[in-house]
Symmetry: C2
Subunit: 463 residues, 2 copies
């Protein structure tokens, strides 16, 4: 049986991390608190809390019906499912507690009357924000709208885990969750212009206002990011490890802006983004520890949606949603590659996760079987499948008369196994994660170096 007790070493580590973080926080109450330090300390606490809660709450979750069987293991015992909900709850708590550290008005306006705003104070805060001090107070409603969106996605993810919402319905769950974000973006911010590439500037001018289309674009990013994390799933640890890589790369990108020696106009946005990413990285690490091969817990759709929405929130409020798209390249590939099955051109079984070979203990590509009677409806689909097979993008088995017998399922995990041969589950997760990291680093390089070819200057340097 899986024990729910923390080991001695775990307990010691958690207690010492907690102690250190509490000390930092206590210090931050006095004097000149930098939000980044506070955010780090809160993230440490969030890590400890989610680590312990994930361990302790396992039996409670199983009793409440959140449980599943690991299909790629010899023992088929029940594991707690939907543990991402614990992470989401701890994360949200940390983010809410962070508000006074980030936005606290140090000079209380002399008047005690109804919420008068001292405008001079605000401007002063804007300046401080650039120097890694507190955020400008005007960002509070953006921050709150982010929390509302994240709470919404967590609730909807939980509803999905509870009620097993149908695929075609749940695809739009993130769109609902993005509504608070977009509504507040509209009311409070409303910037819908994009920088035009140099080559097109003679026609459109330096800035082009997309208007309502910009909201459509943001809604698309908001729908895509959580769903793309959710469909790149099926083996131990992969949901969390890919999310961690993306979060770390986004954080690294933010750090680039903070390390510039001069105050940069975008510093503020990136500080803001970091304060959402650090606690996310913390709770994800705690989850990964329990979800990595061999899993003790499952993450649930809640985690996948939540992770995707964290990326949406930071990239929209930080105004770097195009950078996010670069970091989601493997997910985009996985989605495009899945299209034949998602849209029914090729039959789509209930589960497409790689097949566990109980004899070797390795994972092999799972397949969709074709019978002689049930061949592709349109001939072009058959041609397409054979073309993909030629390009080594699919494993296709045909019988003596050229009829399809089976094709590997259209997911990046199966494709990787087609390329690399049978792999153990953790090896597969590690390789996919490494590929994600390499591609993401390349994406960031493209974004900061090659962008100079189409834009006047990278916004990393001083505008």
């Amino acid at each position: 049986m899986t024990s729910t007790a923390l080991s001695r070493a775990e307990r010691l580590s958690l207690v010492s991390i907690t102690g250190a973080c509490v000390a930092i926080l206590a210090n931050a109450f006095q004097g000149d608190d930098k939000p980044l330090i506070v955010s780090l300390a809160l993230s440490g606490l969030a890590f400890c809390a989610s680590f312990a809660l994930i361990r302790w709450l396992g039996p409670t979750f199983i009793k409440a019906g959140f449980k599943g069987v690991d299909m790629a293991k010899h023992s088929r015992k029940e594991l707690p499912e939907c543990m991402g909900a614990v992470c989401a709850a701890v994360y949200l708590f940390a983010i809410i507690v962070f508000i006074p550290f980030a936005f606290y008005k140090d000079v209380v306006a002399a008047t005690s009357g109804g919420g008068n705003r001292d405008v001079v104070l605000q401007v002063e805060h804007v300046q401080q924000g650039r120097f890694l001090h507190r955020f400008p107070h005007s960002k509070l409603s953006s921050y709150l709208s982010a929390i509302v969106s994240l709470q919404t996605i967590a609730s909807l993810g939980l509803a999905d885990d509870l009620f097993d919402i149908r695929w075609r319905h749940k695809f739009f769950i993130p769109a609902f969750a993005a509504i608070p974000l977009l509504v507040v973006y509209r009311v409070d911010f409303g910037v819908t212009s994009i920088v035009v590439p140099i080559q097109l500037q003679p026609y459109f001018g330096p800035l082009f206002d997309l208007g309502a289309l910009y909201y459509v674009y943001m809604a698309c990013v908001a729908i895509f990011s959580p769903n793309s994390i959710n469909i790149m799933a099926g083996i131990n640890g992969i949901e969390v490890s890919q999310s961690l890589v993306i979060a770390l790369l986004l954080a690294a990108n933010d750090a680039l802006y903070l390390l510039t020696p001069y105050p940069h106009p975008a510093t503020d946005s990136h500080l803001f983004s970091l304060s959402f990413l650090l606690p996310f990285i913390a709770v994800s690490l705690a989850l990964l520890y329990h979800n990595w091969y061999p899993s003790r817990v499952f993450v649930g759709d809640t985690y996948c949606y939540f992770a995707g929405m964290v990326f949406v929130v930071v990239s929209i409020l930080g105004h770097f949603s195009k950078t996010l798209v670069l970091l989601l390249l493997p997910q985009i590939f996985n989605f495009v590659y899945s299209v034949p099955q998602l849209f029914g051109l090729v039959p789509c079984p209930r589960h497409r996760l790689p097949r566990f070979n109980a004899r070797t203990g390795l994972l092999e590509p799972s397949v969709t079987p074709w019978t002689p009677e049930r061949q592709p409806r349109w001939r072009v689909v058959g041609w397409g499948l054979r073309l993909l097979s030629r390009l080594r993008l699919l494993r296709v088995a045909v019988d003596g008369e050229g009829r399809l017998v089976e094709t590997s399922n259209f997911t990046i995990l199966n494709l990787w196994l087609v390329w690399r041969g049978p792999l153990r589950e953790d090896r597969l997760a590690l390789e996919i994660t490494a590929a994600q990291a390499v591609l993401g680093l390349f994406g960031l390089f493209v974004r900061h170096r090659l962008a100079l070819l189409v834009f006047k200057e990278d916004n990393w340097s001083l505008l």
Copy 2:
């Protein structure tokens, strides 16, 4: 079997309400939209949506394990539980969609740069707010923090319904949910002064700053209100009907301020409060229709917490938390009356709801049995029980030797049955609701008329 289909009449009514509300909303997009009209239309839609969803989702909820048996009926069939979660979800959706109508910047600032605020615009909005136009933009973060608090209580309520959290833990659930509200109140508003009664003004001055104590006070209100709704439960419809009475009285109190012929400083706060109360009244009516005797669905702790938190949110952000306390008088009585059982002076069974007499079909006071061996531990408790019995505040049965045989349970519902004799379930709910309404109206009268004795002037008149 309970059918999940809407009847013809229901369908017709819902469709016509929906049509009318959509027409109002479409109209509101053009021209000079008043938030109150929009809020009414959105409430109409929220009523229709929650009415239909409560009906349709019954089997889904039962399948997911949200089910219970009505203990006060002859047939003991399973009914869907936790339907308040549907109301909470629809409510939150309506409240989020309302944001652009309430806060929309009609004049987009000329600069497209990062969120610059045109201060002149803000002040103009403040003026409009007083004349039932849009809210001042500076209220956006208060509004959002209210949403965050309400989402938190909905999630925690759901967690309680899922995991059956122990009583001494769940008592503090509302405190967690109030954190966002209090944090943003501190950061964004920070008024902690109260008006001092005339008699004390020579000593304290006209305003007295409670400082941190004011937050403690708000936290107490936030903990008390949801819990007090939650413990005044147990018979069909009572949770929803008492919440509806409180909401309607709060709305009536708000309306008093809006009907003044001149712009009043508190108009804004009360308009704000109404925009949270109207959709709540709407979803509660839809729920009451299904939860009234004989219940087709149960509301769950989610609804009770959520309702209590709606009252907390409007009264704290509207600065009339003392008025809320007046309206909660029956709940306060019920809580104080329950104290002997809640704190273990008198044994507390798992359920204290009135006992169903299957022969008569009526409800009777439920009792706690005492055996000759198990008498009150302290003699003072025995005396207290006999005193309560003398005051007709408890039904006590003693044997020939003066030992306690049984005492009625300490809830207002049982006490009412002690006073009035056995009643049918709906009759009891109706009488308690009526008592709540009468007491509440009296409370409002006290607040607006008698307050003049201790304060210089009622804030209903021009300050």
